[in-house]
């Protein structure tokens, strides 16, 4: 079945697993996998119950998660290579090392739930259903890009995915607003509002906390603590580095963000918590980025190479999950290898597709500025002769 799947995946990109998640997961023939994770995977703040450490899921879902982490890593590798080949211009932030968070979060919510994140957004864009080729095309400034090539790395959006936000911390109050609409519509969904340990020190994050708790909004604030806000270690930027406690009266949980099982379980738990009227919750997911803050940061001036190597060899989210899967004895090395190959094929094909996409038409410079162009007959260009008429 998986081998058949590999062909389908190549043909339809990210959409294949949408189908498996919706249906195949509950097929009676599917094996149920049981995992036990360490109790230290969670630390609570102002909360009695914690997410489960005994975790069950179907083999199909587990393999889907593994596959998606592989895709996200290879997507970032492709972006890295294309950037270095000068196919990508602009500022580009990769999430290599942090894959368990986007993939684990998506596994814990449904497409009705909303996600909003920072500029390190390629992984989230993919798991929310945007194809890898559209992501790469956006990075390369092509017409088929998710934002028509007009945004680039930090500006990617998708269904119930509100971006991709370049200004540090600015997306967090938006997350509260999106959550308000879920509450107003009484649709049972929640918002996952992500930010980094650096952004956690922005004033508007605290303003968002207050609004969310005041009105008990269904929002899960997720601090991706990758230990460095750009080039400054979290301990040198924050008086309180226990980010899960920084919502004050808002309950919080520190989660091992390098373990996709803990991430998925914590998100399922938090969604249940926040949509049952208990108000917001703050999750701190400890993670690590292998690369620099952006492509212009080698990432080695403010931390040692040994530290990076140590994290790669002891805490890698993909290797860690692979070990767990093999330990179940229901998953074979060959099955995982096939998925790795599939992920590579998908990204290779997406790369070719993205590169084949043309540059957007120059008239796109003037579109998407205002909604109603009929009341704005024209927009000024650099000189009078370049005035754009709608």
């Amino acid at each position: 079945m998986l081998r058949l799947g590999s062909k389908l995946r190549l043909a339809s990109g990210a959409n294949f697993f949408k189908g498996t998640l919706g249906g195949a997961r509950f097929m009676s023939s599917d094996v149920n996998l049981v995992f036990k994770i360490a109790t230290e995977s969670y630390i609570g703040h102002r909360i009695e119950d914690l997410p489960a450490t005994d975790i069950e899921m179907s083999k199909t879902e587990a393999l889907d998660m593994y596959y998606k982490m592989q895709v996200v890593r290879r997507l970032e590798m492709a972006a890295d290579a294309a950037y270095k080949a000068k196919m990508i211009r602009g500022f580009c932030h990769l999430c290599t090392g942090q894959e368990a968070i986007p993939v684990g979060i998506e596994a814990g919510i449904t497409r009705k739930d909303s996600v909003i994140t920072s500029y390190r957004c390629h992984g989230f864009t993919y798991v929310r259903g945007v194809s890898a080729s559209k992501i790469l095309a956006e990075l390369m400034g092509r017409a088929d890009g998710v934002s028509k090539g007009k945004g680039g790395s930090m500006h990617m959006f998708g269904p119930n995915f509100y971006g991709g936000n370049g200004i540090v911390g600015a997306q967090v109050p938006l997350g509260a607003g999106i959550a308000f609409t879920h509450k107003y519509n009484n649709d049972g969904a929640c918002t996952i509002a992500l930010y980094g340990d650096g952004a956690a020190n922005q004033g508007q994050v605290f303003e968002a906390f207050n609004l969310a708790k005041l009105w008990d909004l269904p929002v899960v604030f997720v601090c991706e603590n990758n230990k460095y806000g750009m080039g400054t270690s979290s301990a040198r930027a924050a008086a309180n580095t226990e980010y899960y406690t920084r919502g004050d009266v808002i309950p919080g949980i520190k989660v091992n963000g390098m373990d996709i099982l803990a991430v998925r379980e914590a998100i399922k738990f938090s969604k249940e918590f926040t949509t049952s009227g208990k108000g917001p919750i703050v999750l701190e997911m400890s993670t690590y980025r292998y690369g620099g803050h952006s492509m212009s940061d080698p990432g080695s001036t403010y931390r040692t190479r040994d530290e990076i190597q140590h994290m790669r060899s002891t805490s890698d989210p993909i290797t860690g999950f692979k070990t767990r899967l093999l330990e179940t004895s229901h998953v074979t090395e060959d099955e995982l290898k096939a998925l790795e190959k599939d992920a590579k094929k998908l990204i290779d094909a997406s790369n070719v597709e993205a590169k084949a996409s043309p540059e957007p038409n120059v008239s796109e410079l003037f579109t998407d500025i205002y909604a109603d162009t009929t009341s704005i007959p024209s927009m000024r260009g650099r000189v009078v002769s370049e005035t754009h008429y709608y």
């Binding site: 400034g141 200004i167 911390g169 004033g203 750009m230 957007p360 410079l365 000189v383």
Partner: protein
């Protein structure tokens, strides 16, 4: 008709596309920039930079200060800014430098070695908290110290907008002169860089120019950046100092090693001319320089006067008005969008002051009225061809 300029939008686009296919916009900041119609373009070839000892000796600003013969060192703009920061910290024990990542040199390396030289109490990293950085700096300044803050990109200055506009700018006024944020200087890299996209390319000077109490400065070269930054730091008003980031490495000059200040609020006439006044600031001056060279070559006998505003607020109305009274024509250019850009203020004031002397409408060549695009940067920026066309139109009116 030179191939960089064409009469119609259609023709111009076509020409421009074929030109950029081989050259690209950012290449004018590149040492390998190809000549346009025989004119050597770009910062590397600019006559506006003092790259030789003779050049330094002939530098008008340095002559005025009496330091045109002092010992110099080859520096790019990043290094000269670093040098100014070093001098300000040496000469003022109350001066501190802070901002995101500054203690390890900053993302553009402008603050390199300051933490080592002056210690972590005087050069330190802040959290990612722009509003906090600005407010903290105002407090430091109000208490009588010298606060030199860095906002990592001018595009990130907007969370600090309230602090700068409502607190820093108005503190002297609202305390009847008892307190002020005069010791505050906020440095921030601004303008296009060739690939910055939406949030790493903006020119926010016009927003701040609407705020009495602030001083807004934009340098164009290493020599000027050092003198203007030292002046800004020592100025008794809060200063927003916007550094064209594309010049950090591309603009290189022999910079006097001594401590010197250039006056704020004063424009500099970079090149005298009699037929049209051309006004700009920051990196746009190099584009204007090349456009003028093409104009003067294509229309023999025509000479253009090029003025660098240097200080956007308060701006030097007298120098511009005197020039326009002489030439009768004015073209202004900046990267920020045209609508409510600073060129609008210049045009309004000059049309009032020089109404009877004007021979043509005042021309503006600015960024398009769009967000700063990623993929279309070269179609957004007021490039050599667009400046050429506007100057020509104003001359031929």
């Amino acid at each position: 008709m030179p191939k960089v300029a064409a009469p119609s939008l259609q023709g111009m686009k076509h020409n421009f596309l074929s030109a950029t296919a081989t050259r690209g916009y950012s290449s004018i900041y590149d040492h390998s920039a190809e000549p346009i119609n025989g004119i050597k373009v770009g910062v590397a070839n600019s006559a506006l930079l003092s790259r030789t000892i003779t050049g330094v000796k002939n530098n008008k600003q340095l002559q005025d200060l009496g330091i045109a013969s002092s010992s110099t060192k080859k520096m790019n703009m990043c290094q000269s800014i670093n040098d100014a920061l070093k001098i300000s910290m040496e000469t003022d024990p109350k001066a501190i430098v802070f901002g995101e990542d500054v203690s390890f040199g900053g993302v553009f390396r402008c603050t390199v070695d300051l933490a080592e030289k002056f210690g972590p109490d005087r050069c330190f990293n802040t959290p990612l908290t722009e509003q906090g950085i600005a407010g903290f700096g105002i407090g430091v300044a109000a208490a009588g110290h010298t606060a030199i803050a860095e906002i990592q990109f001018a595009d990130y200055i907007f969370p600090a907008f309230d602090q700068i506009v409502n607190e820093a700018a108005k503190m002297r006024y609202r305390s009847g002169g008892e307190f002020s944020a005069g010791g505050l200087t906020i440095r921030s890299p601004s303008m296009a860089v060739g690939h910055g996209g939406i949030y790493h390319s903006q020119s926010p000077e016009a927003y701040f120019s609407h705020t009495p109490g602030l001083v807004v400065v934009i340098p164009r070269s290493p020599i000027q950046a050092k003198g203007l930054l030292l002046s800004s730091i020592r100025n008794k008003n809060p200063v927003v100092f916007l550094e064209p980031k594309v010049l950090y490495r591309s603009a290189v000059e022999l910079v006097p090693e001594c401590d010197y200040v250039l006056p704020l609020g004063k424009a500099e006439i970079l090149k005298a001319g009699s037929d049209v006044t051309v006004v700009g600031y920051g990196s746009q001056l190099y584009v204007l320089e090349n456009a003028i060279q093409l104009i003067e070559r294509d229309f023999p006998g025509t000479t253009c006067e090029l003025i660098d505003l240097q200080t956007i607020l308060p701006w030097d109305v007298e120098t511009v008005a005197q020039s326009v009274n002489k030439t009768g024509r004015l073209v202004i250019s900046h990267e920020a969008p045209k609508t409510s850009g600073f060129a609008a203020e210049i045009a309004a004031e000059i049309s009032n002051r020089c109404f009877t002397r004007l021979e043509s409408p005042i021309g503006r060549v600015c960024g398009a009225d769009t967000p700063f695009p990623l993929v279309f940067e070269r179609f957004y920026l007021p490039d050599i061809a667009r400046c050429y066309e506007e100057i020509k139109a104003v001359i031929k009116y």
